[in-house]
Amino acid sequence: MTKFLRLPDVRSWLLAMPVTLVLSFFLLLPLLMIVVVSFWGATEYSIYPAFQFDNYQFLFGSSVTYQVFLKTFMYTGITWATTLAIGFTIAYFLAFHVRSQTWQTAFFLLCTIPFWTSNIIRMISWIPFLGRHGLANETLIKLGLIKEPLEWLLYSDFAVILAFVHLYTLFMVVPIFNTMLRIDKSLIEAAHDAGASGLQILTNIIIPLTKPGIMIGSIFVVALVMGDFITVRFMSGSQAANVGRLISNDIGLLAYPSAAATSVVLLVTVILTISIMLRFVDIRKEL
């Protein structure tokens, strides 16, 4: 028995066993179930095992599906671009302008403070701020900048994207900051020595070397936004829909096969999106 355990192959397999079991039971098996159920049938009051394409046919036959997917991509695209711009700037400031490590750590922790409360609370706290008689509107009216309250501040696409950006910018900051910290400061000096201006250093040195971090942050943000449903529901006041809400509505109606089919399509879409992104940048160096 001990001899058997000493075989290098056996030991590797045993070491990999716990994670394999956990992932099989809690990831692969449920995923498989979703795929299986997506082919089942449903009536108003029951679901029954079957192998039919009705759910997919209905999904791809409805114009709502395309609108909702389009909306999801729009939320994802705008949120991605905004979090990237803000996240890159914050990370750049932390990594290259804050000189002392103590302050770097302090500022970084400051960025994480919003994460000490739950997602939902952070989202809901926007409502009294953005509402018709909320802080933002009242302030703007008092300043005389507007006469009527701005209607589009809350329960709108603007509110949804604002909440997404608020919730997910840190997921962009962390990997970019991490990659930037690994850039040897003498590279910046060498570029400076060669005559590069600040902007040229940014475009020729820092951005190319930060690409893996940008990509990891982008994967986080894209996956989170595409899979979200609660932010869209709260911030749009149930007036806008993304794929997540489509699934959640089906579940509310106990239409599990239809929800499963939508989930499968969403999963494939997210996987495709991320694999396209990975074609552009090699992130292996960062892992």
């Binding site: 040897d184 003498s186 590279l187 000096e189 060498a190 400076h192 020595d193 060669a194 005559g195 020729n204």
Partner: protein, 327 residues
């Protein structure tokens, strides 16, 4: 014999808060020479180099090159180029792109800058590796790529920050020969910061030895070695004993320190250890007042009359080999 290409430091001072890194240093670096800035760590040699390069601001004083004060100019407009200690090659660019980077910034078109980069890479013997990425190169190759990148800006003065410290000892000797050869071919000044005295002695036309933020002594390698001005210089360069005689202190080269027969002029000492060094044997002795001295005895002479630790011996010298130290 001043030429316009001389680099001159005029009362250059660098302060970090209250700490003085470089204290009122003035020196003329003659054009076309290989200069080694030598000194222990923290002596101010790196700060001096970085001020010349423009990567460190000058607190006070002026740096004159080509008849103008360059101390306020950005690095690329000074007529200097720097080769960094860790080479600082851009990891995402091929060797050719690294070398031609400064030309790209100047807006030169791709064909012309690549041609110039290839020429420069040929000069340092790296032509065949131009397409590689830096992490596909050995330490010595990276060093040469960094050299080519620094030289492509056609600097009047090349600044090298401990360029050999990342190499293994064998390569170090080989690369330093190449550095010297390239310097001679180009005829520009190299200012090379190092804390290795052997490196400085081997390379330098002029050694500038720094300690405690000031220049302790400067001159040709031979002059500095044969006539150290202070005890610090004698000890830092190595190969010297410092002996006290009649209240005065003298430097005495250890290879001119001999084991002599009792009765001759010298000091009675006792042997603490000896090391075989190939051509010589280093005999370490301890003398009156616990002074530690070393005598370099030619190998065959030592083994003709070997001494062992604990033996009492007498060491001697010729009076002209004693060199009076200041202070």
């Amino acid at each position: 014999m001043r030429s316009p290409n001389d680099l001159e430091l005029v009362a250059v001072t660098k302060r970090y808060g209250d700490a003085v890194a470089v204290d009122n240093v003035s020196h003329l670096f003659a054009a076309g020479t290989y200069i080694c800035l030598l000194g222990p760590s923290g002596c101010g040699k790196s700060s001096t180099l970085r001020m010349i390069a423009g990567h460190e601001s000058v607190t006070d004083g002026a740096i004159i090159l080509d008849g103008r004060d360059i101390s306020k100019l950005p690095p690329a407009q000074r007529g200097t180029a720097m080769m960094f200690q860790s080479y600082a090659l851009f990891p995402h660019m091929s060797v050719r792109d690294n070398v031609s980077f400064s030309l790209k910034l100047k807006g030169e078109d791709k064909a012309s800058r690549h041609r110039k980069a290839n020429e420069m890479l040929e000069l340092v013997g790296m032509g065949h590796l131009a397409d590689r990425l830096p992490d596909q190169l050995s330490g010595g190759q990276q060093q040469r790529a960094a050299l080519a990148r620094a030289l492509i800006t056609k600097p009047q003065v090349l600044l090298l920050d401990e360029p050999l410290s990342a190499l293994d000892p064998f390569l170090r000797v080989k690369v330093r020969e190449e550095l010297k050869k390239i310097q001679r071919e180009l005829g520009i000044s190299f200012i090379h910061v190092t804390h290795g005295q052997d490196e400085a002695l081997a390379l330098a036309d002029e050694i500038v030895l720094m300690n405690n933020a000031v220049i302790e002594q400067s001159g040709s390698a031979r002059d500095v070695f044969n006539a150290p001005r202070s005890e610090f210089v004698a000890r830092f360069l190595g190969g010297h004993n410092v002996v006290s005689l009649e209240g005065k202190r003298y430097a005495l080269r250890s290879d001119r320190t001999r084991l002599v027969t009792p009765g001759d002029e010298g000091l009675d000492v006792s042997v603490t250890s000896h090391e075989f060094l190939g051509t010589h044997v280093a005999v370490n002795v301890i003398g009156p007042g616990d002074v530690e001295l070393t005598a370099m005895v030619p190998e065959e002479q030592f083994y003709a009359a070997p001494v062992e630790p604990g033996d009492s011996v007498r060491i001697g010298w010729t009076a002209q080999d004693l060199h009076l130290l200041a202070g």
